[in-house]
């Protein structure tokens, strides 16, 4: 089985978000970049499937040269080779179109449920549509039984058992697998695993991020004594007007 895992290269959750150049660009200074946490679940499940029944794992990222350390980390975790599509991931449609171009021939395309920079939650659905194959997200459990994929999918207030045939695209989330931490051997071998850089196909972007803004600063917290909870109720009613 051939598995393709699509990873995003995103600021760590704890990063401070700031913008520069007239609020048109993220201030990358001091930002630590990671494999998207949901993408990490996708990769972990791919590694488990490989251990269970054998598979080859290719990781793919649409991004500039700065994403290569992130891609190498995925190789250290257990991917066999990598593709970097050398383009700025301008919008979900653009990214999906680039992925779809390279995803043909894979049995299973695993992604995260959403990227944590733009939180679109859409690339998997778009890739599925472009390839004419099923896409399911967010998937909490994924098992392969012959050519059938058995999944548990989260829905608002509950979950569903869903089945579909391979080939398939899945957007993963916990607890689909345990995150894998690269070991020394993985890190060493990742240096020599193939990382192929390919040029993007020509796709017109459909949306453009013009500028960014931060939410208004929060006022100071008002502390209320534990002996005076009625004051909290009064304030929620008359001051905050939320009751």
């Amino acid at each position: 089985m051939k598995i393709l895992v699509c990873i995003s290269h995103v600021p760590d959750t704890t990063s401070k978000i700031n913008f520069i150049e007239n609020n048109t660009k993220l201030d990358a200074s001091g930002v630590q970049y990671i494999i998207g946490p949901y993408d990490d679940y996708a990769l972990a499940r791919a590694v488990e499937l490989k251990e269970l029944s054998g598979a080859s794992i290719t990781v793919l990222n649409v991004g500039g040269p700065e994403t290569e350390p992130t891609i190498r980390k995925a190789l250290a975790i257990g991917a066999d080779d990598a593709i970097r599509i050398n383009a700025f991931p301008a919008d979900s449609f653009f990214v999906a179109a680039q992925i779809a171009e390279h995803a043909k021939g894979y049995d299973l395309v695993l992604m995260g449920r959403e990227s944590i920079d733009f939180n679109g939650g859409v690339v998997h659905a778009m890739v599925g549509e472009m390839l004419g194959i099923p896409s399911v997200s967010p998937v909490m459990k994924l098992d392969i039984d012959g050519t059938t994929v058995k999944m548990t999918k989260e829905i608002e207030g509950g979950k569903e058992q869903v089945e579909a045939a391979l080939p398939l695209v899945a957007g993963c989330q916990e607890p689909i697998a345990e995150w894998k931490i690269p070991n020394m051997r993985g890190i060493m071998s990742a240096r020599t695993k193939p990382l192929n850089v390919v040029e993007p196909k020509n796709v017109e972007v459909t949306v453009a991020n013009k500028n960014f803004e931060l939410p208004p600063a929060k006022g100071a917290v008002k502390m209320i004594s534990a002996d005076n909870v009625t004051e909290l109720v009064t304030r929620l009613k008359t001051e905050a007007k939320v009751l």
Binding site: T13, I17, P37, Y38, F93, A96, I116, D117, F118, N119, G121, V122, H124, A125, M126, G128, E129, M130, I133, P134, S137, P138, M140, E154, I155, E156, G157, G158, K159, E160, Q161, V162, A165, Q173, E174, T206, V207, A208, N209, K210, F212, E213, L214, P215, K218, G219, V221, K222, M223, S225, A226, T230, L232, V233, T234, R235, L236, A240, V242, L243
Partner: protein, 317 residues
């Protein structure tokens, strides 16, 4: 401008998030048409008119009773064409977002998810969307002639503006390829207020010590007509179901009031609550980071403060 709104139903009832989508479309101006698929109560569909839809198209084919994303997207793309719609609005959800993504490919539309405000059409078509899990916003220009938007909670004010709408039955053309996933079974919490839609959320963390102590949070939630949530370790340990966990890897909520009890306020938890209008934190540790993100704070033991708070709320009614 012709705007189409996809309306989600659950157990025959229209979801509140979808009524907000109707209100959003109405506030944009132009003609608003709603589309509902699968089993739905007629009175519920008619009532969509009150929020600004001039008509409601109902694809009642029983094959649409299961929420099959592929089939829904095929029908919506077709209706968009039939109705000559320029814009499609959906609620951001595990159904709405992937459906929107597929319709966007089928109709060559620009698509933006997580939109938080009405569009600005003074030059081009600009929307504001939430990014970095609520830590920032982007102003995005939608370039294509057709546009698809999924909205976050509170993107539009839910108010009655009209009367019941006419419901038109629609016969969808469906083929086998539209059913490329099969729903085997589904489990859903019934009767509860859905966490993503709740106006008030009472959430508990590891400070609650164990699942057997959730009763006091449930009593508080009941008094407030609130949904219950939790932190990730709480769902990881199986104290509460996974779909109740709030944060970066869980549900992102945007209620009027979020009450956090025994939750430290890790950044990954805050990522799921930072769109709340008002945050109350109850924690016995004065240095808990959550206090910095709160509007009101009480330093104290949850097991003493929560029952007193429930009592005070009931007394104030």
């Amino acid at each position: 401008m012709n705007t189409l709104v996809f309306v989600e139903t659950s157990e025959g009832k229209v979801r509140k998030a979808s009524l907000e989508a109707v209100a959003y479309a109405h506030a944009m101006g132009g003609t608003t048409t709603a589309v509902a698929l699968g089993k739905a109560d007629l009175s519920e569909l008619q009532a969509i008119g009150k929020y600004g839809a001039s008509k409601v198209i109902h694809g009642s084919d029983p094959r649409l009773d299961n929420q099959v994303i592929q089939a829904y997207s095929s029908v919506l793309a077709k209706v968009m064409q039939d109705e000559n719609a320029d814009v499609l609005i959906l609620a951001n959800s595990s159904l709405g977002t992937p459906v929107a993504a597929k319709v966007a490919i089928k109709t060559n539309a620009s698509f933006v998810s997580n939109v938080t405000e009405l569009p600005n059409t003074s030059s081009g078509f600009m929307v504001k969307r939430s990014i970095y899990t609520g830590k920032a916003f982007a102003h995005v220009e939608m370039k294509n002639a057709k546009k698809i938007i999924t909205i976050k909670k509170n993107a539009a004010e839910l108010k009655e503006v009209g009367s019941n709408a006419q419901v038109i039955n629609y016969t969808a053309t469906l083929n086998d390829a539209d059913f490329n996933t099969k729903t085997i079974s589904s489990e859903k919490a019934t009767g509860d207020i859905l966490l993503p839609e709740a106006e008030i959320v009472v959430s508990g963390g590891r400070g609650m010590k164990g699942p057997e102590h959730w009763g006091i949070l449930e009593a508080l939630a009941k008094a407030l007509h609130a949904a219950t949530g939790c932190s990730k370790p709480v769902s990881d340990m199986g104290w509460r179901p996974h779909h109740e966990h709030v944060g970066q890897t869980g549900v992102k909520v945007a209620p009027q009031l979020y009450i956090a009890v025994g939750i430290s306020g890790a950044i990954q938890h805050l990522a799921g609550v930072n769109s709340s209008k008002c945050i109350v934190v109850i924690n016995k540790d004065a240095d808990a980071p959550f206090f910095k993100a709160a509007d009101y704070g009480i330093i104290g033991d949850a097991f003493e403060v929560v029952p007193k708070l429930t009592e005070a709320i009931l007394a104030s009614k």
